[in-house]
Assembly symmetry: C2
């Protein structure tokens, strides 16, 4: 097992006890670092990360779904809600929205249609360039986002308990951003 991981993975000395990337014993949410400092060799390949990301993404989607059900939202799903969150509080074009989420054009078009039908967004043709649609949340759209953010507050409090947590979240975010760039460039120009 370790043998296999070492094949393409890279080693790092770390201070987390008994925690290997490849299998997931039931670890509690309790802090594990900064208590003992035995040094272990742990390996994270980009595939391990990709699998983790897939799992976490699935988890979040279903969480979002249940939260939306609680809110009584029936006309749009979690994917559409993510688009709303991507729009945020600014007015932007479809193209800008594509960049924000690496969506495919036809996909976003489809979602925007549903969101417009549901009254969550306004769509106006730009003055400058009439090809370009300007998108913005309606009152209803902003309300949904606000409700979801409120519901999310509890998670933020659990996930970010102290400075260490915050730093780790920050590092995770940056590292994911790097993955995004590397994988994205690779897809376009080939590694």
């Amino acid at each position: 097992m370790i043998q296999k991981l070492l094949h393409e993975g890279v080693e790092v000395e770390t201070s987390i006890d008994g925690y290997y990337a490849a299998d997931f014993p039931e670890i509690t949410t309790e802090k594990q670092s900064h208590r003992h400092h035995p040094v272990h060799t742990v390996v994270v390949t980009h595939f391990e990360l990709a699998r983790m990301i897939e799992r976490v993404n699935r988890r979040f989607a279903s969480l979002l779904r249940t939260e939306m059900t609680k809110l009584g939202i029936e006309d749009v799903g979690p994917a559409q809600a993510m688009v709303l969150m991507a729009i945020g509080d600014v007015e932007l074009s479809v193209g800008e929205l594509l960049d924000r989420g690496h969506y495919v054009g036809s996909n976003i078009s489809y979602y925007l249609k549903q969101l417009a039908d549901g009254g969550y967004i306004d769509r106006v043709a730009s003055q400058r360039d009439k090809r370009s649609a300007r998108i913005r949340l309606t009152e209803k759209g902003e309300q949904l986002c606000a409700n979801l953010r409120d519901a999310g507050g509890a998670y933020n409090r659990v996930l970010a308990r102290d400075a260490d947590d915050l730093r780790n979240l920050e590092i995770a975010f940056q590292t994911l951003h790097r993955l995004e760039l590397v994988w994205g460039n690779a897809a376009r120009y080939g590694i």
Copy 2:
């Protein structure tokens, strides 16, 4: 903008220059930390993370798709390949596989059928419990995984250039695992 982020987010002092969670200027893959040390206030909400995770997941899926196309794999898609990677080199039951990826039963059943039809896995009824299917990669399945891992080697080398990178990947991995647990428990027991 910052105002909004502060709403539900939590602050942290960090040493990354000019990098805010909410918008994505074209940052290069070059290192940014450990050069200058101006202190900024950056915020990562769990929604920002969720959106990032969604984007990265999308990127990886399309990368995997192109890699599989290069390999001439036509009978299964990236989702099925992820299942293969989840199985890895051990023999396990469908239930264990569900845990590994937070899949839904009927979904995995569907994938396993395709993978079995394609000759990527073997499925044998357990001796002990004939309800339980034991799953394992075939030669062909292992070959595909090995090819994908080989193709992935280049990414590992780009992503893990030095000890700092490795540490950050490790932290990202652990942090995602924590998200997984928190979001998963919340879904089951409500925060």
